[in-house]
Amino acid sequence: MQDMLTPLVNRDLKDMILDAKDKGTSLEILGHGTKRMIGRYSEKNVPLTMRRFSEVTLYEPSELVISARAGTPIVEIERELKGYGQHLPFEHLDFSKLFETEPGYGTIGSLFATNFSGSRRLLKGSARDHLIGVKGINGRGESFSSGGRVMKNVAGYDLAKLMANSWGTLAVMTEVTIKLLPTPPSECTLFLYGLEEDIALEALRTAIATPYEVSGAVHLNKTHAFPCLEGVTYVQDKAVTAIRLENTPKSLAYRSEKIRELLSAFGELFYIDEPESKLFWQNMRQLAFLANRDDAIWRVSTSPQRAFQSARQIKKLVDSQVSYDWGGGLLWISTRGVADMGSSDIRRIIAQAGGHATLIYPGVDATQPVSPFHPLDPAHMQLTKGLKSMFDPAGVLNPGRMYDGV
């Protein structure tokens, strides 16, 4: 294990990057390391943590904007926002249960570097969509900024959003500025139990197509449902289809009744009020349904129209369990008993359907190396390598983390 570098200010970080560049070494860019298990790992990289870059630098509740240094703990930001009835609307994922790490960790920089958004992404957009400004240092040691502190800004190319999902391979973010939203005053969830997958997806599609602003639409198979229902009143040993609404209590009463009428043909709808509703979606955000350390875990973004068909094909070929988020557009697949974790079948089927599959966790059966990130076609790989070489020509920042040679 190499000594961890811990810069405190931009100057330190810049010197460390330039030093690595001069010496021909490379850095592993970390926040709290909560997502270190995801992606490719190289022991050659010297770990560098941004955890000491920790400070909320601006918060204007009346403008729905907050800026923070990249190493600021997410929980600290959420604590600050709570006092003003605001939140990070994209419901970022918490991997602590899956990776058995300390809960409540994770930095705001790593949240954006990985762009993992949860169930509310369906209605409110991804983490990337809320990243309105970035300051950072690229692999050349150059400080740069993009975007700013106002939510509408179309000056120049949007390098801020480019940093989202770049996994620290282009630049080290030093400060981020985020568009916030008011926390909805209340929420409820409607449950349908025991639906077949294709019927459940149709129910979700029907709900999402209404004007009632569904902010969560998931279907969990029976195995995955059980851990998410812990503490929820209506527990049944069946698959669960869940539809979340968030608004004022009066609106929720109106909207849930409308959806209940519309979906009555799908079965009996159970109304789950707070706090059980909150608990269920917290379990979703914490991936409670996947916290089985034996299974390999895949996260698949695909066309909702092709999701069921794709899942059925995958299940035919690979011993797997599939659940759906984003109204069918996001598949969580757990596999077991296959040396390549089902990679070849899953990726082939998803490529045909449109979308991509990310291996989040390899499970216990892994014996073959599998690229965690979906392989790119030659044209995209060429551009990806080109972009990397523009920002980090010497390959100092997280080299190989996403793709070989990037």
Binding site: D129, G148, Y157, P211, P304, Q305
Partner: protein, 490 residues
């Protein structure tokens, strides 16, 4: 030196006639515009103060046509200027004299509507409003709503990352595009994203949306559709001061209410709009807010009550709630005809700065001071929810040197916006108009990082070449990059 003068200095290098010959081999005769009268229709866009006659205009009807044109452009190293409907207010579609203008208006087919995926695949020349019209009966719409949405194309929206009044809730173009098909400067066809969320790998979509046609020519787009709300209605509030109106907006948002739109108009704008549209706006107020909520009738009523309760702290002297669609239309009528209303009075330069809301009062006072020092009148129209100012500076286009003076005045206003923590464009883009002002907002290194992206996609710098980046800096950058031995980039 003004933009126009700089353009005149552009070299009109001898363009080989073989370019026309090659174009005529891949396109039909009616897809090529060469005659003087035809070319004049493309010499400017909505920034009409600048006109430059292009070398040739082509009207592709397919992605393959665009790719064929791009290959010819690449072969002869001739610039291409993509163009949608030409509604750019920042001169984004104004050609250079040696350019092939690639006008996408014939690529106007909606290719696929997929309500299960809540997406539509459209050719780039489809108008913004046509998308919503196509899915209206199914209860969906396409959210970004630039004022020119009746005529502007999705290609232009993507180029400029356009927004509109309702972007407070739904975001701008970049939040509503799922995928694009694009032709590169070298004539290759690439696709990014598709009918699914969050594409794999680096976020190339975030670069392409808002790149002002500088990275590739978008020929198709997959756009996100949203379920239509049950209803939408505005209320109108008039205040005795800018401060009260601005503080009211801050209080509404700060208390957790997020209307779908909050529009602000100052006294000169109110007066002009009322005289033009007869919308029933009060003329005895200094500032007007139009605040719109969506939902069922009772939900909107409840939101109005909450907003009126908050607004009462700021002593609104005029309150008008729209209870019917007709009343709602009447309230919006004035705002939506604002630019036309001011245009009846005088020529104007429409600025597009963004400021933090907390600086509103300070910025409006300073704008008045700046315009007064130039002896120009100004009207302010403002997307108050997101801080997007539109000062309309009135000037006399017939007076020699007046356009250069109004440009200078506008630049001072944008500098003020940046000094206040904002930016030089919220929805119109940089184009020709503001390329030299980019240094107000960005350091040289910031811009170099952006230009490296341009160079990656467009190594010969032929796509909309004179836009976005300050000319001198771009020239220095290109010279320095080409003199590098590639040592760093290998």
């Amino acid at each position: 030196m003004g933009i126009f003068s700089k353009l005149q200095e552009k070299i009109k290098s001898a363009i080989p006639r073989s370019v026309i010959r090659d174009l005529s081999e891949v396109l039909k005769p009616d897809q090529i515009v060469l005659d003087q009268a035809g070319l004049q229709a493309f010499e400017t866009d909505a920034l009409t103060a600048i006109q430059v006659l292009p070398f040739v205009v082509v009207m592709p009807e397919s992605t393959a046509d665009v790719a064929a044109v791009a290959k010819i452009s690449h072969k002869y190293d001739v610039p291409m200027v993509p163009r949608g409907a030409g509604t750019s207010l920042a001169g984004g579609a104004i050609p250079t004299s040696n350019a092939i203008v690639v006008c996408l208006s014939r690529m106007n087919k909606i290719l696929d509507i997929d309500l299960v995926n809540r997406s539509a695949k459209v050719q780039a020349g489809v108008t913004n409003l046509a998308i919503s019209a196509a899915v209206d009966r199914d209860g969906f719409f396409y959210a970004p709503d630039p004022s020119s949405q009746l005529s502007c194309t999705i290609a232009g929206n993507i180029a400029m990352n356009s927004g509109g009044a309702h972007c407070l809730k739904y975001g701008v173009t970049t939040h509503n595009i799922l995928g694009v098909k694009l032709v590169t400067a070298e004539g290759e066809i690439l696709e990014f994203g598709g009918p699914f969320l969050d594409p794999a790998g680096y976020d190339f979509l975030s670069l392409i949306v808002g790149s002002e046609g500088g990275l590739g020519i978008v020929t198709e787009a997959t756009v996100m559709l949203r379920a239509k709300p049950e209803g939408a209605r505005p209320l109108l509030l008039g205040f005795e001061s800018h401060e009260q109106a601005g503080d009211c907006v801050a209080a509404i948002i700060g208390k957790g209410y997020l209307p779908v739109a909050i529009e602000f108009m100052d006294k000169p704008a109110i007066k002009a709009c009322e005289e033009h549209a007869r919308a029933g706006y009060p003329l005895d107020v200094e500032a007007l807010l139009i605040i719109e909520f969506e939902g069922a009738t009772e939900e909107i009523d409840a939101s109005f009550q909450q907003v009126l309760r908050i607004a009462s702290q700021f002593n609104p002297v005029h309150k008008r709630i729209a209870n019917t669609d007709e009343e709602a239309q009447a309230i919006w009528l004035g705002r939506k005809s604002a630019f036309g209303a001011i245009g009846r009075i005088s020529e104007y330069l429409c600025m597009d700065g963004v400021i933090p809301l907390s600086k509103l009062s300070h910025v409006l006072s300073k704008i008045a001071e700046i315009c007064s020092s130039y002896k120009f009148q100004v009207s302010n129209i403002f997307h108050a929810g997101d801080g997007n100012l539109h000062p309309l500076i009135l000037y006399d286009a017939n007076r020699t040197g007046e356009f250069q003076r109004v440009e200078k005045c506008g630049a001072e206003i944008l500098e003020l916006c940046v000094m206040a923590g904002g930016c030089i464009t919220g929805e119109h883009g940089v184009g020709l108009e503001k390329r030299d002002l980019m240094t107000l907002q960005f350091s040289e290194t910031d811009l170099i990082n952006q230009m490296r992206v341009k160079l990656l996609f467009d190594p010969n710098w032929v796509l909309n070449p004179d836009k976005v980046f300050p000319l001198e800096l771009a020239e220095t950058f290109r010279r320095d990059e080409s003199s590098l031995s590639d040592g760093e980039s290998t």
